[in-house]
């Protein structure tokens, strides 16, 4: 018996070590490609998959530049970009980055500025890019470092039919108090008043909640890096949000993210939903059971004029890339007006990578397919103020996030506490006092600078 015990144990010990370590490390692949080719690293969102489909038959055919795509989920993309770009290995010429990373990557010296390319390329028409989007892709040095592929803000979606039946109306620009009153009036045991994200994650519950904090007059940090997470305004906003979800929100709120709320809304389980503008296209899709029953208003406000967030996936060029001209040609094509038309004609106008250009909202075909919400979505993006989203000056850009590398972790840790508060497992006060401690640690790093 004992004769096999020890080897067996060793085998399992070693196996454990191997299995656990295998997850800790990942290597880099090979680079290369010919002179007339660019390597593009992309996030695997549906719009990017459309781009991949259309590139060979259009861009490569016209310019002779071959495009090699690497498509990965969001977290892996972020990781791969920071690995390749931080060492300036030059494996990827172009990568999709969001407006969260762009200013930070630019500050690290990982990205090539695009101002010269833009100046020479009149067909690209930089002035057509929506101002807040351009602003959010501009670094502290005033240069543009990325061009948007599509953009979004947040707004309020509601069921017109339910509101009419109950005799409840919402103004064009409701306040959060009006939304809470409306939620109370339309809520029934079958249909909840409002769907708000409660799932932990800096990109889940923290995104809508931070916009609420902004408009209640709160902020994560003051201009001189004082953490404000348990300040009265932050607390008031969080209490409002948590109470609203607990009283009139969707069932299972502590696990509900974008996907769950989309489900609840589509199935008619909730009467309102405050979330990304891209959701409207999904709710108004041809196979949606609630198509045509929807109304849209701007993001609810309290102390600010607008409160919608701003997010965009954009293309940046690696500074070490030796094929920057070819890379710009690709970006100019993919972010250009011609590509929008190509998608509209080939794949349908509802699939347009929208939310980045003024001209998109002038297209007759686009208005026809997205008419019910396109004006509100455009207004939401145009009203976003990425540099000044609240009532006080901010130390870093960002509306639903703080544009510092530490925020993904800070936001996620605080979000887990908020999620517990929504579940009733902890109080908002305790959650935010813990959050304040975490935020102070982050602030301490920046105070001296």
């Amino acid at each position: 018996m004992s004769s096999i015990r020890t080897p067996l144990l060793r085998t399992f010990g070693a196996a454990t070590a191997v299995l656990l370590l295998a997850s800790a490390c990942s290597g880099a692949g090979g680079g290369g490609g010919g002179a007339d080719s660019v390597n593009v690293l992309m996030v695997n969102n549906p719009q990017m998959q459309d781009l991949q489909k259309l590139t060979a038959d259009n861009f490569t055919k016209d310019t002779g530049i071959k495009v090699n795509f690497t498509v990965l989920p969001e977290n892996d993309v972020r990781d791969k970009i920071s690995q390749d770009f931080s060492s300036q290995a030059g494996q990827y010429d172009v990568a999709t980055i969001s407006n969260y990373e762009t200013p930070m990557y630019a500050k690290n010296g990982w990205l090539a500025p695009m101002d010269d390319f833009v100046a020479k390329d009149s067909a690209f028409d930089q002035a057509d890019i929506l101002e807040p989007i351009r602003q959010s892709l501009t670094a502290a040095d005033g240069k543009v470092y990325a061009q948007p592929f599509y953009g979004e803000s947040s707004f309020l979606m509601y069921r017109k039919d339910i509101f009419e039946a109950k005799g409840v109306t919402l103004p064009e620009k409701p306040t959060w108090q009006q939304v809470a009153e409306a939620a109370a009036k339309v809520a029934t045991p079958e249909v909840r008043g409002i769907c708000l994200r409660g799932q932990p994650g800096w990109g889940q519950v923290m995104a809508p909640l931070t916009t609420v904090v902004n408009t209640f007059g709160g902020t994560w940090f003051t201009k001189d890096w004082q953490a404000q997470v348990n300040a009265p305004e932050f607390k008031e906003a969080t209490k409002f949000y948590v109470d609203l979800v607990r009283n009139y929100g969707e069932a299972g709120a502590p696990q509900a993210g974008f996907a769950e709320c989309l489900n609840n809304m589509t199935q008619g389980k909730v009467a309102m939903w405050y979330d990304a503008t891209v959701a409207a296209g999904l709710l108004e899709a041809n196979d949606s059971p609630i198509k045509g029953k929807l109304g849209f208003t701007q993001a609810p406000v309290v102390k600010t004029d607008s409160s919608g967030w701003l997010y965009t996936w954009a293309f940046g060029i690696q500074k070490a890339s030796k094929k920057q001209d070819a890379a710009w040609k690709f970006i100019s094509w993919a972010s250009g007006k011609g590509y929008e038309e190509l998608v509209g004609k080939n794949l349908g106008w509802s699939k347009l990578p929208d939310g980045k250009r003024s001209s998109t909202y002038q297209r007759a075909e686009y208005k026809q397919s997205s008419g019910s919400f396109s004006a509100q979505a455009e207004a939401a993006i145009k009203g976003a103020k990425p540099l000044n989203p609240g009532v006080q000056e901010r130390p870093a850009p960002g509306i639903q996030f703080v544009g510092i590398p530490e925020f993904t972790d800070l936001g996620t840790q605080v979000s887990q506490q908020i999620s517990s508060a929504i579940a009733g497992a902890t109080s908002v006060d305790d959650a935010l006092n813990n959050g304040q401690g975490l935020a102070e640690k982050v602030a301490a790093k920046y105070k001296g600078q």
Binding site: I4, G13, T16, L20, S23, C25, S86, A251, G252
Partner: protein, 309 residues
């Protein structure tokens, strides 16, 4: 034990070759590529992780990189979230392994009897183990637990109960444990069933003739025979469940006090981009797992030995 007898199969001897012309290393040389491969894919990453665990390395902050000494380890041990994640890992692993061992033992005893459709039932019972872990977690989150359209509340509704509890929010840890028990019970059942079916029939017949009750047969014959299979199931199950990530990530996203160590490492690596701290936590997990695997099993098996002697 059957395994021992199979350990040294008779190998056809090669034709006699003058030994002296081959030094020892030459006879072992053909193994070298495999050995090098093993070292490259297992030991080098471990060394790299060890080195990184002593470094200040935030991937988004490339200018501030360097040697950190034991800072990362100090951070890991002083971070209250990380400490509670260690407790969570232990609670999660112990409860899943124990519950699925007990359930697996029951199912294995049932399946050891002959009945019509046994093969079909066995296949159905194994099915949960074959489901991809993240898919299983999604099934539990959406199809079963969801308070709006989940099957659990659907059944309550159908039975005429008004209560529509929010399962995950009210009992987050049990929700994760239950979904894992569902996946791992078939695994335990398979191992224990193999044990039951290798049990010699003669002692049982002799015991029956001597007038032993079926409980006595289970207690003094079947159970001691199953001991090593229980240990094996417990050990393998622990190794895999300590690492479980899918269920926590999908069902609760690490919220509501369910974050375990693998989830915390994921968060440190992907959200905080703290490669140094994540590596330190990874090294601690490896050390802990090896320690537990070695000592716990030794303790358990020596206890069993004393009892059965």
């Amino acid at each position: 034990m059957a395994v021992i007898t199979r350990e040294r199969p008779v190998v056809d001897r090669p034709p006699p070759v003058p030994r002296k012309s081959y030094p020892k290393w030459a006879r072992r040389a053909p193994l070298l590529p495999a050995l090098i491969f093993l070292i490259v894919v297992t030991q080098l990453p471990f060394v790299a992780t060890l080195v990184i665990s002593f470094m200040k390395w935030n991937s988004l902050d490339p200018t501030n990189r360097g040697f950190a000494g034991f800072d990362n380890y100090v951070n890991v041990f002083t971070d209250p979230d990380l400490r509670s994640s260690i407790v969570n890992t232990i609670v999660l692993t112990a409860s899943v392994v124990l519950i699925s061992l007990v359930l697996g033992l029951g199912l294995a005893l049932l399946l050891d009897k002959k009945f019509r459709g046994r093969g079909f039932v066995r296949t159905m019972l194994i099915a949960p183990f074959l489901v991809v872990p993240v898919a299983a977690a999604l099934i539990w989150k959406h199809v079963l637990y969801n308070p709006e359209y989940g099957l659990f509340n659907g059944i309550l509704n159908w039975l005429g109960f008004d209560a529509q509890p929010d399962w995950i929010s009210t009992m987050p840890m049990s929700a994760v444990v239950l979904s894992l028990v569902w996946q791992w019970t078939p695994f335990m059942m398979l191992i224990l069933l193999a044990g039951l079916q290798s049990k010699p029939i003669e002692p049982v017949e002799a015991a029956t003739i001597d007038g032993a009750s079926s409980f006595q047969i289970f207690r003094y014959l079947t159970f001691p025979h199953l001991r090593q299979y229980l240990e094996l199931g417990g050990l393998l199950g622990s190794i895999y469940i300590v690492q479980n990530f899918d269920a926590v990530f999908t069902i609760t996203s690490g919220g509501l006090g369910t974050a375990n160590l693998p989830y915390m490492i994921y968060q440190t690596f992907y959200q905080a981009h703290e490669y140094g701290e994540a590596s330190a936590a990874g090294v601690i997990v490896v050390a802990g797992s090896i320690l537990i695997a070695t000592f716990a099993l030794r303790v358990v098996s020596s206890l069993f030995k004393e009892e059965t002697r």
